[in-house]
C-alpha cells in the first residue's frame, strides 16, 4: 500500500458502494470460474487483504449456503526487500483446518502494483503445502508490473502514474470503504509497495 500524502488532497475514485459492488462481482466470478466453491480457500495478505478475504468468503458463503474457509498469509519473511530496511514485525498467518493441499487457493490483496508481494506470497505458500491451483483476487490493479504476475479477479483497473499514490480504505481498519488516488512530487517505486507492518 503506497502511502498517500493525505486523505484530503487525494481524490476518491471508488466510494463505499463501488467497493461493495466490486466485491460482490468478484465473489460471483470466483464461483463461476471454479464451478462452485468446492475446494476454494481464500487467504488474505495482511494487512487489508485479510478483511477483504473475509468479506469475499461471506459473500460466497451466502450463495453456497455454507461457510467458506478463509485465513491469512503473511509474506514478510519472503519479501525480496527484507535487507533494505530494519526487520519488520510479522503479520498473522492463519490457515483453515485441513491445510491447503489440493485446494484452490485464492490469494486476496488490496492493491496489485509491481507484483513482488504476490511472488513472495507464492514462495510462502509453497512452504505450507501443495495447492491444486493458485488464483489472485485484488481490489485494485494499478499496473506497472515488474514481475510476470497477473490477477484473475480485479475489482477495478486503475491506470496510474508511478508518481501517484493509491490508498485503499476499509471499514475494519480505517472506518470507511474507499479508494483514493493522491498526487506527489516524488516518483514512487512500485517495488516499495507493501511497506505496512502488520
Amino acid at each position: 500500500m503506497v502511502r498517500s500524502d493525505s486523505e484530503d488532497e487525494a481524490r476518491e475514485v471508488l466510494d463505499a458502494d463501488d467497493v461493495q459492488r466490486a466485491l460482490t462481482r468478484i465473489a460471483h466470478e470466483v464461483l463461476e470460474r471454479n464451478k462452485g466453491a468446492q475446494s476454494v480457500i481464500l487467504l488474505g495478505i495482511p494487512t487489508r487483504g485479510v478483511p477483504l478475504a473475509r468479506r469475499l468468503a461471506e459473500r460466497i458463503g451466502e450463495v453456497e449456503g455454507r461457510p467458506i474457509p478463509h485465513g491469512s498469509l503473511d509474506i514478510t519473511m519472503f519479501r525480496d526487500d527484507l535487507r533494505m530496511r530494519p526487520a519488520r514485525g510479522l503479520g498473522r498467518t492463519e490457515l483453515p483446518d485441513g491445510g491447503i493441499d489440493g485446494a484452490v487457493v485464492v490469494l486476496v490483496d488490496d492493491v496489485l502494483f509491481s507484483g513482488r508481494s504476490i511472488r513472495a506470497a507464492l514462495d510462502a505458500l509453497s512452504e505450507l503445502g501443495r495447492p491444486h491451483a493458485v488464483q489472485l483476487a485484488v481490489l485494485v490493479d494499478r499496473g506497472h508490473r515488474q514481475f510476470p504476475i497477473r490477477a484473475d479477479y480485479v475489482g477495478k483497473n486503475l491506470p496510474t502514474s508511478t508518481r501517484e499514490s493509491v490508498q485503499v480504505l476499509l471499514a475494519e481498519h480505517d472506518g470507511r470503504d474507499a479508494v483514493l488516488i493522491g498526487g506527489s512530487d516524488e516518483t514512487h517505486d512500485p517495488s516499495a509497495e507493501g511497506g505496512e507492518t502488520a
Binding site: 527484507l82 530496511r85 526487520a87 514485525g89 510479522l90
Partner: protein, 313 residues
C-alpha cells in the same frame, strides 16, 4: 537502533512486545511440514559457549537453522591461565570468519558487554548468559510462556523463588517483567538476596507461604548444593522445608496458576518430583518456547538492514 541484546534492561516495552508477538508467529512454523524460513539465508551465527550448556546451545542452533542461517559452534573453556586472551583472540578469529551474530555464554559477568564495546567484532552480540548478571532470552521465553497462559502480563503477580543472589535468570526476569507491567516478588532466605535488592523494581520476602497467595505464576530457581558449604543455608533439608515447592504448597495456589523452572532442576531440593511432573508445570513448554523466542530475536536483529530493537521508530 541497538544491534545487540545484552540485557533485559535494554528492551523497551515496545521492543519486548515486538519480540513476543514475532515469536508467536514463528511458533507456528514449528507446526508446519517445512519448519524453515529463508529469512537469514547467507547470515552466519556463531554459538560461542565458554560454559557447558547443551540445552541453550541447541536451542539457539535450532533457532538459527530454522531461519536458514549458517551456524558455527565454538566451545571454549576459559581458563584462568589464558585469562582474557581467550576472549579477545577468539573474538578476532570469529570476526575474520565473518560472524553476523555471536551468541555468547560466559562465566564472567559483563563479558558480552566487553565483546560488544571492544571493537573486536562488528556483528550483533546476543547474551546467552553471563556469569551472575543476565540471561535476556531466558526472560523472554519465560514471559512468552506466561503470556500464553495468562493472556496478559499487566498487573499479574509473579513469584520468583530461590538463589536470587547468584541468578542471572532472576535479574533478567525482574527487569523484563516489570517492563511488561507485572508485579514481581522475589522470595529467598536473606543470605541469597543481594544487598541493594531494595532498589530493584520488585518486592521481596523471606516468607514463601505468604508470598504464594494469589500468585499467577511461580518460578522456581535452581539452588546449587555447593552454596550450603559457603554457609548460605545450613542444610538441604532446611532449605527445601522453608523454600521448596511441594504438592501441599502447590495446592494452595489459584487454579490457573502455572509453575515454571529455567532448568536444570534439583528434584527434591527446590522442587519436588510431584510438582515438576504435574499438569500445572509448564517446564517442558518453556524449552519449546525457547526456540521460537530465539528465532524472533535473531530475525529482528539480523533479518533486515538494521536491528529492529532499541528505540522508537
Amino acid at each position: 537502533m541497538t544491534r545487540h541484546l545484552l540485557s533485559a534492561a535494554d528492551l523497551t516495552r515496545d521492543d519486548a512486545t515486538l519480540i513476543l508477538d514475532t515469536a508467536d508467529e514463528l511458533a507456528r512454523v514449528s507446526d508446519r511440514p517445512v519448519k524453515k524460513l529463508p529469512t537469514l539465508r547467507g547470515r552466519t551465527v556463531v554459538n560461542l559457549f565458554f560454559e557447558d550448556s547443551t540445552r541453550t546451545r541447541i536451542s539457539f542452533e535450532a533457532a538459527a537453522k530454522r531461519l536458514s542461517a549458517d551456524v558455527i559452534n565454538f566451545s571454549a573453556k576459559g581458563s584462568s591461565v589464558s585469562k582474557g586472551e581467550s576472549l579477545k583472540d577468539t573474538a578476532l578469529t570469529l570476526e575474520a570468519m565473518g560472524a553476523d551474530a555471536v551468541v555468547i555464554r560466559h562465566p564472567a559477568s559483563g563479558a558480552p558487554h566487553t565483546l560488544a564495546h571492544s571493537g573486536w567484532i562488528g556483528g550483533s552480540i546476543v547474551n546467552a548468559g553471563d556469569g551472575t548478571h543476565e540471561h535476556p532470552t531466558q526472560a523472554l521465553l519465560d514471559a512468552f510462556t506466561m503470556r500464553r497462559h495468562l493472556s496478559s502480563l499487566d498487573g499479574r503477580k509473579i513469584v520468583i523463588v530461590g538463589d536470587v543472589l547468584h541468578s542471572r535468570v532472576a535479574r533478567s526476569n525482574v527487569l523484563l517483567l516489570s517492563t511488561l507491567g507485572a508485579e514481581v516478588t522475589l522470595v529467598a532466605p536473606p543470605t541469597l538476596l543481594p544487598v541493594g535488592v531494595d532498589q530493584w523494581p520488585c518486592a521481596y520476602s523471606y516468607d514463601l507461604d505468604a508470598s504464594l497467595e494469589g500468585a499467577d505464576a511461580v518460578m522456581m530457581l535452581r539452588v546449587q548444593r555447593e552454596r550450603m558449604n559457603a554457609a548460605f543455608f545450613p542444610s538441604e533439608r532446611e532449605y527445601s522445608r522453608r523454600y521448596g515447592l511441594d504438592a501441599e504448597r502447590m495446592a494452595r495456589l489459584p487454579d490457573e496458576a502455572i509453575i515454571m523452572h529455567p532448568g536444570p532442576m534439583n528434584r527434591g531440593l527446590e522442587i519436588t518430583a510431584a510438582v515438576a511432573d504435574s499438569e500445572r508445570a509448564v517446564i517442558v513448554e518453556q524449552v519449546t518456547n525457547g526456540v521460537s523466542v530465539r528465532m524472533a530475536v535473531l530475525y529482528l536483529l539480523l533479518g533486515g538492514s538494521d536491528s529492529a530493537l532499541g528505540g522508537v521508530e
